[in-house]
């Protein structure tokens, strides 16, 4: 055949291809400074979890607007590409690739859903793209594998469950019975597994009188409330959130369940505005971090007030915790990129250099500082308190707050959360800090 490939052609072709790849590799090492900083952001823009995703997007838009007015990040204007997580992980994986390959994003912020994060982190390894896990909570990410390009810029499930449990053990040490009512999906089940492991270790002998996992998005909890009223547990745990938590609290409150049992609601903060005065006082509430609007000792009170006021002015509501988590990811990016540029003597860092800058990075938030450990996990303090009302806010905020240092409630590097929680001793309670007045 006339067009058959000869050995000489093949060798020439191979040499040319190798040369191209070398050139391409050389370009990657000496990455040119882009004209804008493109950031891919995955969040829920539809479905039930958009109660978190849309406020987070609003926070990102607000902050990027401010940042761009002030000259951008590292002198570059920021351009965000938002992607909806709601269609599921298969869709998200395609979108992640599109963001990196077609849109040329420099960094990806992923995601709210733990399932989304579990899908995106292997992609960050494969595509060598720095990925900041800005909100998801599953402990599995950094406990089941190494992800050199992924970093979580906030706490995660283990401290977010352990801190409320420790608070309960200090606040109501004599409780004997407990019931759980969590949403029937990964977080609802995982958070119960974490709680149960820690509770059995720290207070053995507590009797679990009901374990209920109503379907995600259930519109009615009447039956569950009746069962809880009949069972009369000392404590009711619910890690539910969004509309599910609002419905549960409303129905339980109306039927006086809050008068019979102490509720522990580790994800309550995001629902307090919607519940308003319906949320009963005196129950344990958490915020997946330390970013309460009434934080008693914020590291930078002016910065916290500026963010809260700007958000309220633009969107007519207080920022909820996903907004703070988004702000944390943006702060981490500013600090990490600055560090990478400094390490390169002012040059523009390539993907590997950028990722390396995040390991061990400490960045400031309005309320505290967060350090990214060697495994990529961020250490964020946890504040838990009792629901209460004051003149400043038309909704419940915590009182008698205890600030749990992140290192105290986080699984040590290299260990698995459930295994670590099982090793806890009741003596740990002696290390719990005293409540903060205010």
């Amino acid at each position: 055949m006339n067009d058959a490939i000869t050995r000489r052609d093949a060798l020439l072709g191979a040499a040319a291809t190798a040369g191209s790849l070398l050139l391409a590799g050389g370009n990657a090492r000496a990455q040119a400074r882009p004209t804008e900083l493109r950031i891919g952001i995955t969040t829920f823009l539809s479905g039930a979890a958009s109660v978190f995703g849309v406020p987070a997007r609003q926070a990102a838009e607000l902050l990027f607007e401010e940042i761009n007015k002030a000259g951008g990040i590292a002198g570059l204007p920021v351009r965000a590409y938002f992607v909806d997580e709601a269609p599921g992980t298969d869709h998200l994986v395609g979108e992640y690739r599109r963001l990196v390959q077609n849109e040329g994003v420099y960094v990806v912020f992923a995601s709210i859903s733990s399932g989304s994060c579990l899908a995106c982190t292997p992609l960050s390894d494969e595509m060598r793209k720095t990925t900041l896990l800005w909100d998801c909570g599953t402990q599995r990410i950094f406990e089941e594998g190494k992800h050199p390009y992924a970093f979580r810029t906030q706490g995660y499930g283990t401290p977010e469950v352990l801190a409320p449990l420790l608070y309960l053990l200090k606040h109501k040490p004599d409780f004997r019975t407990l019931a759980v009512i969590n949403q029937d999906y990964a977080w609802g089940r995982d958070s119960w597994e974490l709680w149960k492991a820690a509770m059995d270790a720290l207070k053995p002998g507590v009797r679990v009188v009901a374990e209920m996992f109503p379907r995600f998005g259930a519109p009615d909890y009447s039956t569950e409330v009746t069962r809880l009223l009949a069972a009369r547990p000392d404590v009711i745990l619910s890690t539910s959130w969004g509309g599910d938590l609002v419905t549960l609290v409303r129905q339980a409150s109306e039927r006086r369940l809050f008068e019979r049992s102490t509720f522990v609601l580790p994800v309550a903060e995001a629902s307090m505005q919607v519940l308003g005065r319906t949320m009963p006082a005196g129950h344990v509430i958490g915020a997946r971090g330390d970013h309460w609007n009434n934080h008693p000792q914020p590291k930078d009170p002016a910065r916290l007030a500026k963010f809260v006021d700007a958000y309220r002015a633009k969107y007519n509501e207080y920022p909820i915790y996903p907004c703070h988590h988004m702000a944390q990811a943006i702060s981490a990016l500013q600090a990490g990129l600055g560090r990478a540029i400094q390490a390169k003597g002012g040059g523009w860092p390539n993907d590997l250099e950028l990722a390396n800058a995040f390991r061990g990075l400490t960045f400031d938030t309005p309320t505290s500082s967060i350090t990214l450990r060697e495994d990529g996990q961020g250490l964020e303090d946890q504040i838990v308190g009792l629901s209460s009302f004051n003149d400043r806010f038309p909704f419940a905020v915590p009182r008698d707050m205890i600030m749990f240092p992140a290192a105290m409630v986080s699984t040590p590097v290299g260990q698995k959360s459930v295994d670590w929680l099982k090793t806890l001793k009741p003596e740990m309670l002696a290390q719990v800090p005293a409540p903060i007045a205010g």
Binding site: S46, A48, P219, A230
Partner: protein
């Protein structure tokens, strides 16, 4: 078994009360879907959106009434008014602009079109009401609670859920049965449902009947949403959750069967509440277990009648 029943009689009594309240809500949504299918022969996925918009509208109207200083009892009027408004506005709009173009078409096409409509209406809800949970529970709070004896204890139930919801559902069932069997308009609807071609040959304006039926079905879906709104929180996706359960009810009941929808709702409500007490792991699947069990024995549904294929 007898020992188990003796030990759990009190709990079963509570489960019965819970089941009745839940069944009432399920029935209110499913009955509209069933009616629409019976006449239009379209499985309307957008029925869930009408439920959601009815719920959101009722909450908004209730809040507006409260802000306007109207007496608290006006909240109940808001529920009915919102449902009527949604039915009267969206019903004809959807039927005329969308459904009328797909009558008699492939079922796949009908599903796709109504699903597209559902997606559009979901976005409309977000556009109007945002994504944060919306609640207006004044109608539930206003009636307060009633204490049901439970051994030495008492269990508070809301009067709204224990009496109002089942009462409205029962009134709807009786009223609908009376309307369809005792009034001229109702009989015309039944005639079109039974044999559209024969009904048209007798001079019945089938187009008008379908418009009327869909508007009525839309209003029933909206009423279901409006009645549910004081007990729940309205969030994006609430319509999708509702429509899946409604389909299970309609399939189990037999398409177009009003009494079947009532009985199925009752079975599902009671089955679910018993599961919550004694086998919570099965709570989510109970409606579908009932559906599969019924369809295995009666493929046409509880009250469905076998039809010969016309083509």
């Amino acid at each position: 078994m007898a020992d188990w029943l003796a030990d759990n009689t009190l709990l079963l009594g509570l489960a019965l009360l819970d089941g009745l309240a839940y069944a009432a809500l399920v029935f209110m949504v499913a009955v509209g879907l069933n009616l629409v299918f019976g006449v239009l022969r379209i499985v309307n996925v957008a029925h869930g959106s009408l439920f959601a918009i009815g719920a959101y509208s009722a909450a908004s109207l209730g809040l507006a009434f409260a802000s306007a200083g109207l007496p608290p009892w006006a909240g109940y009027a808001a529920l009915v008014l919102a449902a009527a408004l949604v039915g009267a506005v969206l019903g004809p709009l959807v039927e005329r602009l969308v459904l009328r173009r797909i009558y008699g078409q492939e079922e796949v096409l009908q599903l796709l079109v109504t699903f597209a409509l559902f997606m559009i209406l979901e976005d409309v809800q977000k556009l109007i009401w945002g994504v944060q949970p919306v609640s207006q529970d004044l109608p539930m709070k206003l009636l307060g609670t009633v204490d049901v004896p439970f051994g030495d204890d008492v269990i508070p139930f809301t009067i709204y859920q224990l009496f109002v919801l089942p009462g409205v559902a029962l009134a709807t069932l009786i009223g609908l049965a009376w309307f369809l069997r005792r009034t001229l308009t109702g009989r015309v609807i039944v005639a079109v449902t039974t044999d559209k071609e024969a009904a048209m040959a007798m001079g019945i304006d089938a187009a008008r009947v379908t418009l009327l039926t869909f508007t009525f079905g839309a209003a029933l879906a909206a009423l279901g949403g409006a009645l549910a709104s004081p007990t729940t929180s309205l969030v994006p996706g609430i319509g999708a959750q509702t429509i899946v359960l409604s389909f299970a009810v309609v399939a189990t009941a037999g398409l177009g069967q009003i009494e079947g929808a009532a009985l199925t709702s009752l079975l599902i409500g009671l089955g679910r509440s018993v599961a919550v007490y004694f086998a919570p792991e099965f709570e989510v699947v109970v409606p579908y277990i009932i559906m599969v069990a019924v369809l295995l024995v009666r493929p046409q549904g509880l009250f469905g009648v076998l039809e010969t294929r016309r083509v």
